[in-house]
């Protein structure tokens, strides 16, 4: 206990287990409090160290798995020790060696046949397999309605998720990349961040961007996966999981599209971007919307956004009736578009977003 009298940095406190126990479990409480209050400098240090501990909690280790893991480890050890033994076998049982070798060769042959069959029959990589590879806590959203649904991600990107489609994404993007998983169809508008590329995993294809807009169609029951680009540059590659040896990748520019043939595991450029498709009227709609505005009434801009993103925007129509904007919102995710509009209208305008409900709060424009 006496060594604490020498403490003069927060580090000293944080590395002291008894201090940690006081903060976390209240151990020896009166004694610590009394000691802390002896002088103000010390009290200040203690308070900072306390805040630090409160701000840096880590998960509590799951102790209950230890016994199973220990058993498992002993089993592995035993197995390895057995493997090591045959090196000491005497030459008298060479016959066994040869038969063992023969069995291994037959085994390899059978394995090869299985491998080949698996290769030709099931090259497909599914959404659920991809999800099971991660284990980060993902939020999954499924669109069971007959209209596209808007999802905004923690980095300010927005996704229009089409009917019969699913998107899995983390609550916030940790690490060096932003990764999401798509089954079905989605239109993505990604907030720019070159330091942290955005990756969409959809069946066998990985689409990588740093900030742009594009559409992916990857339904599990369709033979092809399609990626089409509206703005920016997009890199599309086959997932390493299925094409380890010869990974294929293509870079796409605006208005280009690519089709991945799932059986052949190869890419095929799409000749022309499909325009309005009669059989699926909702498809490729948002790409047709022109977000270039020149002296346009703000109410009309809101109406266009409402239609493109299937939103409901509430705004003080009377206060904004004389507001016109000239701006290009071609290349931003929805939250960014709204931010630009609000900033253009003036200081006292902001928006609130709750799912597909947007509320514009404003006292008029300047």
């Amino acid at each position: 206990m006496q060594k604490r009298d020498q403490y003069h940095t927060i580090e000293d406190f944080l590395t002291d287990i008894s201090f940690q126990r006081w903060i976390r479990e209240g151990e020896n409480h009166e004694n610590w409090v009394e000691w802390s209050l002896e002088n103000t400098q010390r009290a200040k240090l203690v308070e900072e160290a306390r805040l630090w501990i409160l701000a840096t909690a880590v998960p509590i280790p799951p102790k209950n798995l230890t016994q199973t893991a220990l058993q498992n480890t002993w089993d592995k050890i035993q197995l390895k020790e057995k493997e090591a033994e045959p090196t000491f076998a005497s030459s008298s049982n060479r016959f066994w060696w040869w038969s063992a070798a023969a069995i291994v060769i037959v085994g390899l042959g059978i394995g090869w046949v299985f491998y080949q069959q698996n290769q030709t029959k099931e090259p497909l990589l599914t959404y659920s397999e991809l999800i099971s590879q991660t284990a980060e806590g993902l939020i999954e959203q499924t669109n069971n309605t007959n209209k596209p649904q808007l999802i905004t991600l923690s980095d300010g990107s927005s996704v229009l998720l089409y009917p019969k489609s699913k998107l899995s994404y983390p609550r916030s993007f940790a690490g060096r990349e932003r990764k999401v998983f798509l089954l079905g169809e989605g239109f993505f508008e990604i907030s720019k961040n070159p330091q942290k590329p955005f990756l969409v995993f959809s069946n066998e294809v990985v689409t990588k961007v740093v900030g742009t807009s594009f559409r992916i169609r990857a339904f599990s029951n369709q033979p092809n996966i399609e990626v089409t680009v509206k703005t920016g540059q997009v890199n599309v590659a086959s997932n390493d999981l299925i094409t380890k040896a010869e990974k294929k990748s293509v870079t796409l520019l605006p208005n280009e599209g690519i089709r991945f043939l799932r059986q052949a595991l190869s890419f095929e450029k799409m000749a022309t971007l499909p325009n309005k498709d009669v059989s699926a009227p909702s498809t490729y709609e948002i790409e047709q919307v022109n977000f270039e505005f020149s002296d346009t009434p703000v109410s009309q801009i809101f109406a266009i956004l409402e239609e493109a993103y299937l939103l409901e925007i509430n705004f003080p129509a009377e206060k904004l009736k004389d507001c016109y904007l000239t701006t290009s919102l071609q290349d931003q995710p929805l939250p960014e578009k709204l931010k630009i509009i609000c900033e253009s209208l003036g200081k006292n305008t902001r928006y609130e977003m709750n799912g597909n409900q947007i509320i514009i709060l404003s006292n008029g424009c300047n």
């Binding site: 805040l51 840096t56 799951p62 220990l70 284990a135 980060e136």
Partner: protein
């Protein structure tokens, strides 16, 4: 004295001589926290579990070759880290498009909600928490190893293979940033982070 009170170093010594009980005790001591650490480096719990167990398998199989004088905890943490790094290198799954020359510490620190009673503390703590979580992964990992695992600065330096000067520069920038961003009294805190590496 029960086995639970015996120091790591003595258990290590016994383990080297083939004492299974000593091995099991060390396993029980460190398995859980090694698992948490492993999970902070790779988000694939089953693989992490394999790595942790394989570290112990090797400890037992090659016990004769182990150094007598090690800090057991630092040795185990470092072995888990190396093993996961090797897995990343070998495994295409995790190298999707960017190459991973080094591991990235993915853990986000959380707030001890149940220990906070008043609003002012809550605000300060959540602000500090956000700032710390926004530090580069390397610095967060150092913080974790220093205060949650109790490693020394030398051990951390060795483990992370840190170039002191470049980390100091990085930290300096981080502190400038923290100082601007945190409204609380940060002079002491800044001094402390600076000293830490």
């Amino acid at each position: 004295m029960s086995i639970a009170q015996i120091a790591d170093e003595i258990l290590w010594h016994r383990l080297k001589q083939g004492d299974k009980a000593a091995f099991s005790e060390l396993f029980e001591r460190y398995h859980a926290s090694l698992t948490v650490y492993g999970n902070s480096l790779m988000s694939h719990p089953e693989r992490v579990q394999d790595c942790v167990q394989d570290v112990f398998v090797d400890v037992w199989l090659y016990r004769h070759a182990l150094s007598e004088t090690v800090v057991v905890k630092a040795y185990l943490l470092s072995s888990v880290r190396k093993r996961i790094a090797r897995l990343y290198q070998r495994d295409n799954v995790f190298r999707q498009t960017t190459s991973l020359e080094s591991l990235e510490f993915l853990l986000d620190f959380s707030v001890e909600e149940q220990l906070i009673a008043d609003e002012e503390t809550a605000t300060q703590v959540s602000q500090l928490n956000r700032l710390i979580n926004n530090l580069p992964a390397r610095q967060k990992e150092a913080i974790y190893l220093r205060f949650h695992q109790g490693l020394s600065i030398e051990q951390i330096g060795e483990m992370l293979d840190i170039n002191y000067q470049s980390v100091t520069n990085l930290l300096h920038r981080a502190i400038q940033h923290l100082r601007k961003a945190w409204k609380g009294d940060l002079t002491l805190l800044a001094l402390f982070i600076y000293r830490m590496l």
